[in-house]
Symmetry: C2
Subunit: 388 residues, 2 copies
């Protein structure tokens, strides 16, 4: 028995995605910048993929710039706007629960003379649009708020926040790595200027991402060099990766609606099953405004890492916090931002569902998890059975 | 008939490389940062690949940081050292014939208060180590000289240049994208601190590269975010790409010696054949100190783009200048740096050989190229047959 419940960390490449990629490794291997036929075939393939990626978020294909990852898209967005608009001001607004790929570029810019406001969130992880409004100064050039949080699954009120910024000359970026391909994302409805996407979170390959850049948005390249991607991102394009990304977006567009409903049902079964079977447990993140596949709980008197290892031993792959920091033994900055004490943050468990998750898998988790928690709590001198 | 002679722009992925990559898309798809078994298997695979990449350049595996491309490795090296050492000085030395992936990051830094010296080269494209020495000031923090030029194939005297910098606290970077996997590269013999490598130039996949960072070298990350690659490069690692890169390095190590000799023979046959059959032709780059697979010629009274299109029509894929800028109709900055007039720079042709190139291919080119040149020159009012 081997059950993967860490789809927020990464997804398997869909077999049809891999199939679409294969010809571009060995036969159609040309460099898209070359003007000969090998190059032009590759160029055709990436332009077709660009249309599919654009189509999924209802953008124009010329507004999509391929990057090497979601992290690169975030770096590009944050640093690119900062450098393009620094003559207007040096203030950036973001939130305390952003992915490290947003927070760390902000910290880098702070060392280089920029000011960054990290907005708090409420106990469910929601950003208050009113707080965004209050934080804006004459110096503000960029606001970056994630579409949905990767750890706790809370979906942020992006439209409302965008409405605040749209009548000013402030650029609005959203890291939509967890939502694109899983929830409908329409760049015009969301009224965003920049959107980060990652292929491997939506059954595409690792090593490829994209930044949506609304036409007219001033941004300095992050990757300097050749004139690829209309001069916006240097590097020989990763043709198989881009083709796979395009295919993954095409499949997502077809399957997203039905899959969302299926996952929400399984998710709620898992949440309710855990709350029923285990005491001293708390659901982290917003109860309803959350990603269809996200379950994040704090299990008091249990140490997160021990729980993970015990789950792994019975074949269940799960996570505490985000995969990106899971080799680091720090409490999640997201859970701390919700106001959780360190102990609760350290006792959190994230289970994220995906295409291959079945009802049987959920049953298995609901059988094994309570046993593991019971075993671990039996070792804790502090634990007393009781209220849920 | 379809003959690919643009191996310097990109190489096909070797079938054994692709075979090694395949399991890591669908089965071993875990995120290497995850502590569960899916993650740990992926982590094992990338560490094995890291050893192979390190082995090829005789580095320690912990000195290899995977990036999304050679361009990223160059951006990381140049900007990373600049930001790490700016308190010591803000002067960088490089050459006029570097790849855009080095020149453009330098130009970016120039806009942000750094000073850059672009050293000239001689008529064969060689950098004079004495000129490097003369350019060094108390402010110099970084020297970046490519190992071999991607357009004209000239191999630079890296060891001699390194010797000049090694007794000072100046960091020495070399872009070895064209040499690693093709020529022996030993980081200790070359005495370099930073080396950029790209997988797709050595029969690995596109979208993956590496930066060798000598232990103790101070460098600021370029890609900010998660703690991957020992905190030196954020982003979920591209597991299949990294595995493929490792396999490509392993194969290169086995085949490099023999392949180098084979290619040099074919290269010289092509060069001599062209010089014999066509008049008003000039070999660009160093006559002997050049890449085993590189032929670069200027064919007077012929426009480079027309020549490429005509070659493409008879199935020969070639290049003018570098692929990265070939969709831009600018004369090559490398050829201009050799002292060539604009006309000669515009009439250049690069033919780069590789694993699938045969003697028959060379014969075919030697049959077709003179016919095409003759046809195009017949249309030129300036051309008069005569001296070679």
């Amino acid at each position: 028995m081997r059950i993967y419940l860490d789809y927020a960390a990464t997804t398997p490449t869909h077999p049809l995605v891999l199939k679409a990629m294969l010809p571009w490794f060995t036969d159609g291997f040309g460099n898209p910048s070359s003007i000969h036929s090998f190059g032009q075939e590759a160029k055709g393939a990436i332009e077709e993929a660009r249309e599919k990626v654009a189509g999924l978020i209802r953008a124009k294909s010329e507004e999509i710039v391929f990057t090497g990852s979601g992290t690169e898209a975030d770096n590009f967005a944050i640093k690119g706007v900062a450098y393009a608009k620094e003559h207007k001001g040096k203030h950036i607004i973001t939130t305390a629960i952003e992915h490290h790929a947003v927070i760390e570029p902000c910290k880098f810019l702070e060392k280089r003379g920029f000011k960054v406001t990290y907005l708090p969130v409420d106990k469910d992880g929601l950003v208050d649009p009113g707080e965004v409004k209050k934080a804006i100064t004459d110096e503000t050039i960029l606001i970056s708020v994630m579409h949905a949080n990767n750890e706790i699954g809370t979906i942020e009120p992006i439209e409302e926040i965008a409405r605040i910024t749209n009548d000013r000359e402030i650029c609005f970026h959203t890291d939509a790595v967890q939502t694109v391909g899983h929830l409908p994302v329409d760049v015009d409805e969301l009224k965003v200027d920049l959107v980060s996407i990652s292929a491997h979170k939506l059954y595409g390959p690792k090593g490829i991402g994209a930044l949506y850049i609304r036409k007219g948005t001033r941004i300095v390249p992050f990757m300097h060099g050749g004139e690829q991607e209309h001069g916006q991102r240097a590097s020989t394009q990763n043709v198989p990766g881009i083709v796979g990304f395009g295919k993954a977006c095409e499949l997502a567009q077809q399957e997203m609606g039905q899959e969302k409903d299926r996952l929400e049902t399984l998710r709620d079964k898992l949440i309710n099953g855990i709350l029923d079977r285990i005491d001293h447990v708390r659901l982290n993140g917003h109860p309803t405004q959350r990603l269809p596949n996200n379950v994040n709980i704090s299990l008091e008197f249990v140490e997160g890492e021990s729980m993970l290892l015990n789950l792994d031993l019975v074949g269940i792959a799960a996570s505490t916090g985000s995969a990106c920091s899971s080799s680091v033994l720090e409490a999640s900055h997201v859970l701390l931002a919700l106001g959780l004490p360190h102990e609760s943050a350290h006792s959190s468990l994230r289970l994220t569902l995906g295409q291959e998750t079945t009802g049987k898998d959920i049953d298995y988790v609901l059988e094994k998890l309570p046993q593991i928690v019971k075993k671990l709590r039996a070792m804790s001198p502090l634990y007393k059975p009781g209220k849920k």
